[in-house]
Amino acid sequence: MKILFISTLRHIKKHFIQTLLTFFMTILMIAVLSAIFNFAASFQDVLRRWAIDTSGTYHYKFVAEDRNTLKGLEEGFKKDSWFSEVFLDTVDNKAVLFVTVDKPGLFTTRIMKEKLSEYSLDSIYQDHNWELLVSYGDLDKQNGMYAFLLIFVILITIITLASVLTLGAVLKISAYQREQDFALLSSIGASGSQISRMILFESMVYIFIAMPFGLVFGVYLLDLSRSKLDDMLKGLEKFPPVEIVISIPFIIAIIIVSIVIILASAYSSAKKVAKIRPIEAIGQNQQIYISKWEQKHKTGDSVLSNSVSKLISKLFNIEGQLAYKTHRRFKRQYYPVLVALSVNIALSMALSSFSHYTNDVISMTYSGMDYNIDIQLSCDDNKLLGQTADELMQISDNQLSLIRQTAFELRNPLPLSETGYRSGLFQGSGRQPDVVLLSVDNDTLYSICHNEGIDIKTLNENTGIFINDQRTWRHDGMQEKGNLFHLESGDILPIYSTHVSDSELSNPNDDAIEVKIAAAIDYSPEYTKVEASTSLVILVSEDTFLSLEPHRPFAERDPGNHNVFLRGMVNEADKLEKSISTYLDKQTQVYGKIYNYDEQIREEQASIAGIRYLLTGLVIILLLICLFSNFIVTWTINRARMKEFAIFSSVGMTPESIRKMKGVESLLNSIKALIPGTFMGIICSVLIQKVYLTEYSVSWTFPWWGLFIGILILIFVSVLSECIINMLMKKISIVDSMTLP
């Protein structure tokens, strides 16, 4: 057995370039895994430190008006060895029972739920320190870190699948190269399992040599991205700085995942070589028995293939015809190429979708404010208010260099009592409204009714027309664009928004749902542009609008026409805040409030930049893995075919013709890979969306960008193949090539 392993090692050594590239590819693969797993460990550490700093070291707490209510719980928990610490205290005149679990872990929340089911929790408020529990690996859906877990799972799945397929293609090529050796070994008595162990051994050599490099490189990449990680996390919460944590369980997980990947990659090749027949080594001098079926499928020309052959011949002459014949009859040789190319396309599309959905989530998570300073002025005297606003504009003008993106705008507040068209409420506002009531005049309303086929008689003071075409109404049945919506005066509007869960939706009136309602009295598309796709738009008559206005729950009351907002994105918001504050202090009649969002915006922007940086890094590394795989496969296939090219040359095929033939083969391969690749890409894209849907409302879109990049890679591989052929044909003479086995 040892001799077979030595033979494998010699094969690895002989094909130095191929081996080197495979090592690079494996190192990159492990590095990505290492970076992601170690980030998970480091993030746990961040969460733990943050949770302890902000909430303390307890895991659960129970609050009641008096200590007696909590006595039963305290005694029960103290008897249970699952809890390490149970401590009853009084905080703000309320009894609080702090509980610490002995060994928090994966199922702590679930176990706690079971334990609590034994107690009556009437008049007891309970809470858990979820960040701390998450930091111990408790990833219960209730713990809020489910989204992180989902992203983690998606990434690991993408990397694993891509690695299995690309490494699989490389190992298949390696097996193909040694097919004759294996057949020879089989002819002298090596068993199928002994031969397949050679492939498994080769894969293990790759993984074990690449493992330390990959682990270290992954940690290095993580350390390199530390500031970006800090930015990303700070944008989410006031997390402490990231410290890279090397966790033994996570390292073991990386090793296990890597071994699973390599074994899965080698499995199909190992299975195949185990069945190799000795005749394949010495077949040339033997009468080989070919079944009728095999003959038919290897050489038989169907009507379709004849038509395709004719078409290709017309387009690419004899070279095309030869390429098509080779392509059709030598499928086994092209299998690794097709796999590598298909994976490229699928991976590009999957990553493009992942990036697209992540961007969607970013836009949902972050406010996307386009101003960092917001000055709200109010005064009973409209004229004085206008003058003050103008003077403040002067201050900003004097510091014009400070203005970064948009100039200050004088925006009228939302007028509710009179028709005014300059409502700019939605421009640059922070959180977009969940529902928008648009007041339109009767003529417009009648015209819309006519266009939408709505009976005008059904419109009354409690109805509006639902016009949003992005969403469907989820309460009281499905509402479609153009349908009437009944607005009950005085009720809290049952709103479907991304900020509420489905369970809240089913009972919209039980608790107040925080709904931000914006209203504009004039139907002016220019100023009532609702950017968030989550918003619902209901057209109502002016009378309805005014009747509903006092009942808008939780909505910021629009301050009337005696207010002025000044908003803008400035470079030095703090400095401007001071100047304006000094100015406003001197005013007696005008009341002003300054909101400075600069720090918040900077953190958000840094966070978004951090996420995009990490995403781009991941995409680049994964595409590099794919390119390595393609290079190895292309290089090996072309090398293996040098004898064939030499024969072509010896019977009079010019080098140009050989290159053209190869070009057509590449084209055929690309077309063939495009179909399964796109199909796989769509499946991946849909699956990623489904996973995201469990936490975020993201809609599926075809990953055109991914497909485009995938096609670019196909072109790159074709060019690469051409270059390799040129290089090899220059290096190797016809005579040398023809003496190859």
């Binding site: 077949g283 040339q284 080989i288 038989g300 030869l322 030598f330 009079g652 003479s733 023809m738």
Partner: protein
Amino acid sequence: MLTIQNLTKTYKIGDSAVVALDNVNLEIKKGEFLAIMGPSGSGKSTLLHMMAGVDIPTSGNVFIEGKNISKLQPSEQAIFRRRHIGMIYQSFNLIPTLTVEENIILPLMLDGKKIDRAMLMSLLELLGLSERRKHLPNQLSGGQQQRVAIGRGLMSKPSLILADEPTGNLDSENTEEVLTLLRTANENYGQTIIMVSHDENVSSIAKRRIFMKDGHIALDKVV
């Protein structure tokens, strides 16, 4: 037909130089059947490769029908080969993905010439491959494969057929068949045949034999 002038080929192996052909001069007339003989390493295959233009001489010239093929560009050499030379190798060297029929007509296909189906059928009949014309090379025996290679050399009716140990991998029965085919090509179609062989029995069918030793012609004998 073929003139070789001062042909020398030196290979570099490490620091030392090995002279495979040492100032070889040779004149072959149209319609001749020439056998090149000699021990292993004497330079006979190298000489044949130079004649086919698949190897580049260190110095000297090879003229075929007045054209110096050693000075042609690779593309021109390839075009010349498919029009004027038929190559037959010991290891058959067939294209594995093409059928018997396609391998035979390959030089004509590359030249964009119309295939004479009647001639192809009679050639397949002559080669005993009519039943196997749709088979791939790996579905054939060694003898059948060599007959395909000969068919490829004959189909385009080249004026010169170069055969490098054509019977080296064959049993006696197949050897006889191949030699009969070569003789037929020479006698019936007037094709010039140059065959490399170290087997005296095989070479005996040639009317002219040259013996090579250490890269030069030691003996040139017309039988």
